[in-house]
Subunit: 430 residues, 2 copies
């Protein structure tokens, strides 16, 4: 333990994650301080109502004055765990301006106001670290920003929302309907009472923006991310996928179009059961990365939870503390590549389309004609059913989103098509 230097740490917020951070910071003080090269001392924890419950820290550390944390001259390092946009944004900006290094897990804030925050950290010559903001305990931001900095990333494809992965796992393994799987997830604490941010893809979209920014050295915000959630996935979709040796996952994807723009989107997609992401079960997260030289990589682990998220925050804390001891700074965000954002219509992928059709001669011909008229080429067609009802399952070759959506519109207008039962994207080799 270094007797020489002390760094004072203060926290904004002390909920599920914060209470674990505080506990570990106190319990493992000796190890963390030795690794940081300075005595790490927790001096203040700001919560809205200090007397509301037992936060697991000494009462005298608690304060309801959030602003006092970011203006106190004795505080060196601030951990922001309030979540949401305000007052987190204002508080972090003030902390940075006052020369404090900041660690945050606030993905929504970073995805929306990242540029402003990174610029403020730059200007103040302090660190702003946020490994915990994406995929919880999994080291993925540091590898993207530092380990792969000598390579050219081609694609990032992640399961970055544990709630939806839990629901999709139950639908896949038990044949559950979406609503039942959601209810189970809520009962077990894997989904919130209002699950919309998770199931409609908003949470994953914020993470997708952060991942894409780092991977492609460009500024990507949550508004740049096209998103579709999983609430329309049916037990039949899952069953059909299973019969084809595929599995449905909610993926946060970014890659570069042939024009050099970044296509970034969150949506359910079919992947092969042999894909490394296919075996990521329940609330686990994983991020699959493909780069020119390194090839395919995957980073797997716990994407949420108090202790796992605290692990990422404390890793950042030690890193940031080391920089303050040595006088240096960690590598900064970089957006020098200034890539544009592709329109979702220009994104290219394959699709699996299920159509309910009349079982009479000529149906396949008219369906095939619609595909051909939009230059969407068909890889396979399977027809099943009997009587006057039948189902066509069409797998396309790679096509643009815009050509596909026009195709689907026209298919719906065909007399012989009673219903476009589902349209799902397909990712990876199958």
């Amino acid at each position: 333990m270094m007797a020489g230097k002390t760094l004072k740490v203060a926290m904004l917020g002390c909920g599920v994650v914060g209470s674990q951070v505080a506990r570990l910071l106190i319990e493992n003080k000796a190890d963390l301080s030795t690794r940081a090269g300075a005595d790490l001392e927790l001096v203040k924890v700001a919560v809205r109502n200090p007397s509301a419950k037992n936060y697991g820290v000494k009462a005298e550390l608690l304060t309801s004055d959030l602003n006092s944390i970011v203006t106190d001259p004795q505080v060196d390092l601030v951990i922001e765990l309030l979540g949401g946009i305000e007052p987190a944004r204002e508080l972090i900006l003030t902390a940075l301006k006052n020369g404090k290094s900041v660690i945050t897990a606030n993905k929504a804030l970073l995805a929306k106001h990242g540029a402003e925050l990174y610029a403020a950290a730059d200007k103040a010559n302090v660190d702003l670290y946020y490994e915990a903001a994406v995929a919880g305990a999994i080291p993925i931001l540091r590898p993207l920003r530092e380990s792969l900095v000598g390579d050219e990333v081609l694609k990032v494809m992640g399961i970055v929302n544990g709630t939806t992965n839990y629901i999709l796992t139950k639908m896949d393994e038990n044949g559950a309907a979406f609503a039942d799987a959601l209810a189970e997830a809520q009962k077990l604490g894997f989904a919130e009472a209002d699950p919309s941010a998770d199931i409609e893809g908003g949470d994953a979209a914020a993470k997708a923006a952060i991942l894409a920014s780092l991977a492609f050295h460009s500024r990507v915000t949550d508004a740049d991310v096209y998103k579709e959630g999983i609430s329309k996935i049916t037990a039949t979709d899952v069953k059909v996928a299973k019969a084809m040796d595929l599995v449905i996952k909610l993926l946060a994807i970014s890659d570069v179009t042939k024009d050099g723009a970044i296509a970034v989107r969150v949506h359910p997609a079919l992947i092969s059961r042999n894909h490394p992401l296919a075996s990521v079960r329940e609330s686990f997260n994983a991020v699959f990365v493909e780069s020119v030289s390194a090839g395919q990589m995957m980073f797997y682990g716990r994407g949420a939870g108090g202790a796992p998220t605290a692990s990422a925050i404390l890793g950042d804390l030690v890193a940031v503390a080391r920089h303050r001891v040595s006088g240096g700074l960690g590598p900064r965000e970089s957006d020098y590549a200034e890539r544009k954002i592709a329109k979702i219509g220009d994104t290219k992928t394959r699709y699996l389309i299920r159509l309910n059709v009349a079982d009479k001669p000529g149906v396949l011909e008219s369906v095939a004609h619609v595909f051909a008229s939009h230059q969407v080429s068909i890889q396979t067609v399977r027809q099943s059913g009997a009587g006057d009802k039948a189902e066509l399952i069409v797998m396309t070759h790679i096509s643009s989103e815009s050509a596909l959506s026009q195709t689907v519109n026209d298919l719906a207008k065909l007399d012989s098509v009673t219903d476009v039962a589902s349209v799902l994207r397909v990712e990876g080799e199958i």
Copy 2:
């Protein structure tokens, strides 16, 4: 691009990996320089015989004078890709002493002389980076050293040798015998003409030492690693494993005994087909990490090859260059925990033991007696076969290596046991 500062890069060696490093350094100079914050210029490449072949770099950069690289005052950064102990050790020490930062992929050297090299880098106040030394392109050393620095690692378990994983994959998927799978691997370039460093576990042991050092903040050398290779694994072992829904992998494992010592070993082990490592096929590598707060993680990707290894080296190069630009240094190795190395006999695990026995009454009783006499408790026994030959497959509960080896010795002496056909360790939940 920064016109301000130029950093001069020189390479020792230009083989499979080196030629990719040189190519990428030249082709991607603009991007790499922008990311580093300084113009990265390749100024010298030392090879034993500059006229032997086309190294893909301008002839005027080539020299046969290895020493000139590490003493040239204009060189800022040295990439060592000679491999082996000498002259690599001497050259790196001289480079460090002369104030050059060094990037190396030399696992054998680091596992043997790491302490000396890290101390020399410390003394000279320069960086010594080596992400490429373990698991090629997979970012694993930086995550262990930096991302998980706020956590307590419990176990590291890696598939870190592509040759043996390729052989074991073929044995598992095609039922091939070891010799045939090895011959195929050699034909396809996945195994060398003399494969002993791979198949006997030497390569994996060096990597295990490096991983254990970082994970447990202690000094671990290759001599501390217990090792067994895969040359004794038979097609029958693989078949029996398969029938039990298990798969055999060569694992580099380190964990902490209840006395706080590090147990570090390389050996084949049975794992469940549901374990994340089970689906790591062919020459891919993966490292599974378990820590107190983060829980289970896995890092997956290409463990070898020119371009993948070059990706890791260039990531280090940019990181080290940034430090030279900003005046700082990266986080150093730390061995403050000074954990002892456990004796292999004290390592605890489960075992699967196959015995050929006489098929007569009382055999199971005498076998069970031997286990009991060494306090090795049996989880399951399966008996198969007919006539006067039968096979017993015994799965033990967790036991120490020493108790197990005494048990095996005594079993071999039993009249009713014709042969101890195999003894394999079992890792993870099954």
